[in-house]
Symmetry: C2
Subunit: 192 residues, 2 copies
DNA sequence: GCTATAAGAAACGTTGAGTTTCTTATAGTC
DNA sequence: GACTATAAGAAACTCAACGTTTCTTATAGC
C-alpha cells in the first residue's frame, strides 16, 4: 500500500532538491563532514544521480553557494558618504562570508574551487570589486578622493583584508574591525 | 646474504628520516597527493611508526615545514631605510612561501593546521610580525615614521597582503608587486 | 501507445586513514 | 656479557568515502 513508486523527480526539480540538500547539509555538518552520499540520502536519491551532475564535492558545494548565497550582494550602496558606503559593502560581505563559514572557505580553497565572494584573483573581474569601483566613482564625483591613488590593489584592499582575516581567524568580523580597516587604512589611502 | 636485518633505526635518527621523506614527498607530489603510507615507504619504514609520532598528515607536514623552512626568516634586515628593510622582509617571506607552495598552504589551512609563516592570527605573537616591529622601531628612531600610525593591523598589513595574494593566485609574488605594496600602501600609511 | 532518456537501486573496486597485534632488534642497565 | 624494557618492523584489518558500473523502471515528449 504505502510503497508508491510514483512521482519520480527529474531534471531541474531533482537538481534543486539536491542543491537544497547540499546546502542544508553544509550548514548542519560543515564542509569537511559533508559527503556525497549524505547529500544524496538527504535529497532522497542516490550518489549516481549526484555524480551525473557534479564531479565532486567542491563543485557541488560551489553550485549550492552560487544558488543560495550570491544574490544578496549585488546592490551598490549610495549613502552620499564614502565611509558609509564602504562600511555597508564590507558588512554585506561579512554577513555572506559568515553564512558560508570559514571552514567551507578553507575547504573550497584546498580543493582549488573558489568563487568570487571568497577570493579575488588580481586582474580578474569580480562582482565585489566592481561594486567597490562604483562606490569610488561616486566618491570621486563628490570630490572626496584622489583618483590618482585608486590603483586596483588599493581598490580591493578592504575586501581582501576581510577575506584574509575571516580565513585565518575562522570568526565573523566584528563591526569595529570593519571600522578600523575603513578609518585607519582605506580612507587615508584614497583621500584627496 | 643481502637480507641483513641489522641497523634498525630508532628515535631521532628515524624521526629525521621520516621528516626528510615527508619533505621530499611534499615537494615531489604536493600536499594533496602526499599520503602517510607514501611517506612511510619513502622513509623505508611503515605507517605505524609514523602514526606513533604524528596524528595525521597535517601535523606531519607542519613538523617537516618547521624543520626545513623556518630558520631562514629570523634575521632583522637593517639597511638604514624603512623601504629597503620592508622590501627585504617581504622578499624573504615570499621565497619561503614559494618553497612551501600555495597548495600546501591551502591544504594546511583546510585542516586547520597552520604555522606562523602561512598565517598571522591577529592578536597572536608571530615571528614575522615581531621582525616587522623591529624594523619599524629602527625607522622610528630615524624619524622616518609617525608612531601614532603604527597600529597592529597596519604593522602586519604588508605581510598579510602577501600571504593572501599567494594563497589566492597560487603563484609566487613578483618583486614589482612587493614594491607596489610597499610604495603605494605601506609607506604612505606609516610615513610621518 | 512507443521510445529515448534519465532516475532508482544496489553492488563493486579502490584508496587512504587510522588501529591492532605480534615478532624482533637494540639501547640501557645490572 | 647477559637481561629486559622499549620501540621498530611487518602485516593484517576495519572503516569511511570516493567514484563507477550495471541493470531495472518510471516517465516526458513525440
Amino acid at each position: 500500500m504505502e510503497g508508491q513508486k510514483k512521482n519520480r523527480r527529474r531534471g531541474e526539480v531533482l537538481e534543486a532538491a539536491i542543491l537544497q540538500a547540499a546546502w542544508d547539509e553544509l550548514r548542519e555538518v560543515g564542509y569537511n563532514r559533508l559527503t556525497m552520499e549524505g547529500v544524496a540520502a538527504r535529497a532522497k536519491t542516490n550518489k549516481a544521480v549526484v555524480y551525473r551532475r557534479w564531479a565532486n564535492k567542491a563543485q557541488l558545494v560551489s553550485a549550492a553557494l552560487r544558488k543560495y548565497i550570491m544574490r544578496p550582494v549585488t546592490e551598490v550602496p549610495d549613502t552620499g558618504s564614502l565611509r558609509e558606503d564602504v562600511r555597508m559593502l564590507l558588512r554585506g560581505l561579512s554577513s555572506v562570508l559568515q553564512t558560508i563559514g570559514a571552514e567551507t572557505m578553507r575547504g573550497l580553497m584546498g580543493e582549488h574551487s573558489l568563487n568570487d565572494m571568497v577570493t579575488h584573483i588580481p586582474g580578474k573581474k569580480n562582482r565585489l570589486t566592481i561594486t567597490m569601483t562604483a562606490i569610488l566613482r561616486h566618491a570621486e564625483q563628490r570630490g572626496e578622493i584622489n583618483p590618482g591613488k585608486m590603483t586596483p590593489r588599493v581598490i580591493s584592499l578592504p575586501l581582501d583584508l576581510m577575506r584574509y582575516e575571516i580565513l585565518t581567524t575562522l570568526e565573523p568580523m566584528a563591526d569595529h574591525v570593519i571600522d578600523e580597516i575603513v578609518d585607519t587604512i582605506f580612507i587615508p589611502l584614497v583621500r584627496r
